[in-house]
Structures are given as structure tokens and as C-alpha cells.
Amino acid sequence: MDVRWSRVILAGLGACLVLFVVGPLLRLLLESSPQHLAEAIRDPELRASIALTVVTATAATLLGALLGIPLAYLLARRSFPGRRIVQGIIDLPVVIPHPVAGIALLLFLGRRSTVGGILSHIGLEFVSHVPGIVAAMLFVSVPILVSGAREAFRGVDPQLERVARTLGDTAWGAFRRVTLPLAGRGILAGSILAWARSVSEFGSIVILTYNPKVASIFIFDRFTAFGLPAAVPAAVILLLVALAVFLLVRVLQPEEPV
């Protein structure tokens, strides 16, 4: 087959897939008029759910960053026994169906479980409470954050830290003044992706904390109770939020060479 034809076929197959992704999103955006959107934005329930989503996703990301960035550094820079196992465990949530994750979290953090029981004693309730949303979001987003930060650290030449040490800087100083600024963009991009993953989570939250409703559950609730027209404006608003985040990540990530 001649090269030109093979290119046409490859491009055709690719175009089908691109259209399959863009089509439904465009259709959704066109479904709602600006008046509908303005009305939806004035809906206090939708506003509350979006605010709740943003706050919980941010909390889950900050918590993930606090615990995940040091781990990512260890995974990138140090070899220790069980490193591959730790790496595997961190990646595990990616392959677990989200309702399964929700059930597992329910069993682990529910009041009748040991951990959940202890935590409820100090006033931390998960099931049907806001911390449950944060826990579910953390569980599903942590692989994205850790792998993003790990790759960012791997991209920084470890010799630079050694140079900083010979210039009189401590190990922590060298990390803070050299490695962290150089890995910063990659870590931030990974964190934003993890945040977006938290915003889009539905499957595990629906099991752990149906109420108060995050945006994805709010849309599902409107759809089942009042049908498609009631769900569309909220869906469009969530889509716009997601697109804005996506654009931000694209700007932060350096372009991959071809």
C-alpha cells in the first residue's frame, strides 16, 4: 500500500476517535442556552454543591500533597526494600472500580469498624459527612498526584543537590531551594490533575456520602428525579469548570517533544 493511503487511513481512524470525544461535549454545551445557565447558577442548591465540591477537592489535594510529595521524593530518589511494592500499592486505586472503593472505604471508616470507631470518638465522622467525601476523593486521586510528583522529581538531576550541599546548604535547604523549585511545575500539574480527578469523582462518594451532595451527585440526583432537562445546566457548569482546569494543566506542562 502506498504511503499516502496509509496516512489517510491512520488520520481517518484518529479523527473518528477525536469526534467521539468532542461530539458529546459539544452537544452538551449546545443543549443549554445562556438563560438556562444563568438560572442554574442562581440555584442555591447547585451553588452549594459546587462550593462543596471545590472545597472538598481542594482539601483532598492538599492532604494528598502533604502526604504524597515526600513519598514521591523517596520513590524517585531512594532505593529501599519494598519500594516497588509501595509504588504498586499507591497505584492500586487506579484499577479498582470506584463503587468497590466506596464499599471498602465504608467498611474501613464506618462507625462499626475499628478505625472508624476510634475516629468517631474524636469527632471525625465519615459516612454521610463531609470528611467521607474528602476520604473518597483522596483515595481515587492519590495515584495521580504521587506519580506526577515522582516523575517531576525524577526529572531533576540529583547532582544539583550535591552541588548545593558543597556550597554549604543542608539537605533540606538543597531540597527546598533547588529540587522543589525545579520540580515545582510538574508537581503543580500533577496536583491540579488530582484535584480535577477529585471533582469528577462519583462512584465511591455516592456510597460513602450521598448527602451533602457534591456536584456530580447533584447532577445524578436531578437526572433521576426530574429528567434530562433538569440535569443539563448543572452538567454544563461542571463541564466548564473541568475544561478550565484542563487548560490550566496544559499551560503548566511543558510540551512533549515529537
Binding site: D157, Q159, L160, R162, V163, A164, R165, T166, L167, G168, D169, T170, A171, G173, R177, V178, P181, L182
Partner: protein
């Protein structure tokens, strides 16, 4: 300054090296001989399995790298890519709480010394090899280290820049008076820069001393070959006159199709080291004080500016060196038969 390093790792064994305060020492050795590992051990990056490191009579073996007062210039420079040239140079000052004004003044002073003032506010991306090397040197010198470690600092720059940098480095060393330890695989660098040279072979110091001394009197065939002392020939030494007692004695060196009168200190297997400039060439035999005269065939001429290397065949290959002027005068050319004269005392036996 006192520097003793003993590293019991895979690479280095029983290294003992003392660099005088303010001195310039070079460690030379082939690739894989453990040169960089030695510097890393001194800097505190590599773990010592035994031995101690002393600086100015202070045992620094257990100090972390940041408390050893060293400056380290790496072969690949490793400038901080997120900082400007100025901030690279002042890195070692600002984080220690040196006032911004004082740090800036020191950065500017070093930039001026190294001729990189116009680069101060540039990012480090896009600097040439020579420029990066100067920035790396200024950065290492800024905190006034007590010892400067240089890992093949001229390996990645072109030959003309290398010459200029060598000269600048020597001037800087004299001006700042910092004890310097440089790693290189180029003995020429040791001859031009160092007060002291240590030849490293398979993790051990094969010989150390003044560069000229090591070059003239290598203590082994390995050192002689590595520093380019000249022709190295394996063979055996026999006493010429059995009635003669003591050492040194007159002897006969036999090896590889070559028999030479020598002055030896011991009998048995030895390597003869013959410096190319000690071989005297002439077109006709005439009496002189040299005890060895041989006929030789010129096989190749290598003109190296003012000096010409003459490749000879005396039953085995031998290299002599003459001034290009006398090579022209004698009309040396491949195929010409010449007479070589060599003093017995000029043959070094190791």
C-alpha cells in the same frame, strides 16, 4: 592542610595523600581508576568504609558535605537551571545569611576576575561550555572554601578555551590561595598546573610527587606509559662485570630485540624507560661519550610545531624527538638510515 583519605570501597584502597596548604595537586589516572570517587569521598558524598579525611588538621570524616568548607566544580558544571548567573554564583552566600549587598559584591568581584560580568543577569541556559565553566568556578569560589575540588574541569571545553581557562585557574589559585585538588586524565595539565601530582591506578596511588619529578623518574612501567615519559621496553638486567660489587653497577639490558649498556641498581626483570629527547640522532657515526650506538631506520616523522617526533626501527620501534630545525637540517625522511646515540645514564630502569 593535611589530607589523608583512605577509602575501603570497591574502587579505592589505601589512599594516602597529603596536599600542602595553598598547594595545587592533581590526581591523574585512566578512566575508571577511581579519581571521581576519591573527590566524592573528600567532599563527603561517598561513604567511607575506612580511613579519615583531615582538612587543616581537623578531622572532617564525619562532617556532612555542607560543613567541610569545600568548593566542588563538576565535569558537567551542574549549574542551577532555575537561577540566573548572578544567583548561581551567590548561592553559597545568600542561604548562609550573608547580607545581600556583600553577596552581590563578591559575585561581581568573581565575575570580574573571570570575565563574565556581562553574563550576570542572564539565565544559565544557552551559555557556552567555557562560560558555564567560569560560572561554575565562580560559584564554587564565592563562599571562600578552604579546599577546591575540580573534577576534569576542562574536559568539556574546546582546546583554545581550555588553554585560557588553565591560565586563569592558575592565576585565581595564586590570588585566592585556596588549596586545590584537581582530577584529570591529562598529564600535560599536571605539568602546567600542579605543584603535586598523584597517579592513580586501579584505586591505588601508583606514584606521587612533583609533576616534573614523576615525569622524569616514573617508578613503574604503568606510570611511565601513562604520563608519556617515553619509550618503555620490558626486559632483564644483567651485571656486565661479575667482579664489580655494590650498586649502582654497569649492566646490560636485554629486551625485545634491543641490547643496551645501562647503569642499574638491581639485576633481573625490569623496564627500560627512554625519553625521546635523550636519543641523539646523527647521519654518520662519530665518537662521543655515549655508550650506546645503534643503526636505525626512520619510519615516520610527526611534526609537532617546534618539535618533531621521529619514529625509528632499531629491531623494535623507538621514538626520538628532535627540534624541527635539526630535523630539516638533517633532511630526515622515512627510509633514511641514521645512527642513534644514547647515554647509559639516560636510561631509567624501573
Amino acid at each position: 592542610m593535611n589530607l589523608q583519605v583512605k577509602v575501603g570501597s570497591f574502587h579505592l584502597r589505601d589512599i594516602s595523600l597529603e596536599v600542602p596548604s595553598g598547594g595545587y595537586a592533581l590526581i591523574i589516572g585512566p578512566t575508571g581508576s577511581g579519581k571521581t570517587t576519591l573527590l566524592e569521598a573528600i567532599a563527603g558524598h561517598a561513604r567511607l568504609l575506612g580511613g579519615r579525611v583531615f582538612m587543616h588538621n581537623e578531622d572532617v570524616t564525619n562532617l556532612p558535605p555542607e560543613r567541610r568548607g569545600i568548593g566542588f566544580v563538576y565535569q558537567q558544571y551542574h549549574l542551577f537551571p532555575h537561577l540566573t548567573v548572578r544567583n548561581n554564583i551567590s548561592y553559597g552566600l545568600t542561604h548562609r545569611g550573608v547580607r545581600n549587598g556583600a553577596a552581590a559584591a563578591r559575585a561581581e568581584q568573581l565575575a570580574d576576575l573571570l570575565g563574565i560580568t556581562p553574563l550576570l543577569d542572564r539565565p544559565v541556559r544557552g551559555l557556552s561550555g567555557g562560560e558555564q565553566q567560569r560560572v561554575a568556578l565562580a560559584r564554587a569560589l564565592a563562599p571562600r572554601p578552604t579546599i577546591l575540588l575540580l573534577d576534569e574541569p576542562f574536559a568539556a571545553v574546546d582546546p583554545s578555551t581550555r588553554q585560557v581557562l588553565r591560565r586563569e585557574l592558575r592565576q585565581l589559585h595564586e590570588r585566592e590561595g585556596i588549596t586545590t585538588l584537581q582530577v584529570t586524565h591529562d598529564f600535560d595539565e599536571a605539568l602546567r598546573l600542579g605543584d603535586l601530582v598523584a597517579v592513580l591506578s586501579e584505586g591505588r596511588i601508583a606514584q606521587s610527587g612533583a609533576p616534573e619529578q614523576v615525569f622524569r623518574y616514573p617508578n613503574s612501567a604503568f606510570v611511565a606509559r601513562f604520563v608519556g615519559s617515553g619509550n618503555v621496553i620490558a626486559g632483564t638486567v644483567e651485571r656486565s662485570d661479575a667482579s664489580e660489587q655494590g650498586a649502582p653497577f654497569r649492566g646490560r639490558f636485554q629486551g625485545d630485540n634491543l641490547s643496551l649498556d645501562v647503569v642499574a641498581e638491581r639485576e633481573g626483570p625490569a623496564h627500560a624507560v627512554i625519553r625521546p629527547e635523550d636519543i641523539v640522532l646523527s647521519l654518520t657515526a662519530h665518537p662521543d661519550s655515549a655508550r650506546n650506538h645503534k643503526e636505525a631506520l626512520v619510519t615516520r616523522l610527526e611534526r609537532l610545531g617546534p618539535v618533531t617526533q621521529v619514529h625509528l626501527d632499531v629491531g623494535r620501534p623507538l621514538i626520538a624527538s628532535v627540534t624541527t630545525a635539526s630535523a630539516d637540517e638533517m633532511a630526515l625522511h622515512p627510509g633514511l638510515r641514521v645512527i642513534i646515540a644514547l647515554k647509559a645514564t639516560a636510561i631509567l630502569l624501573v
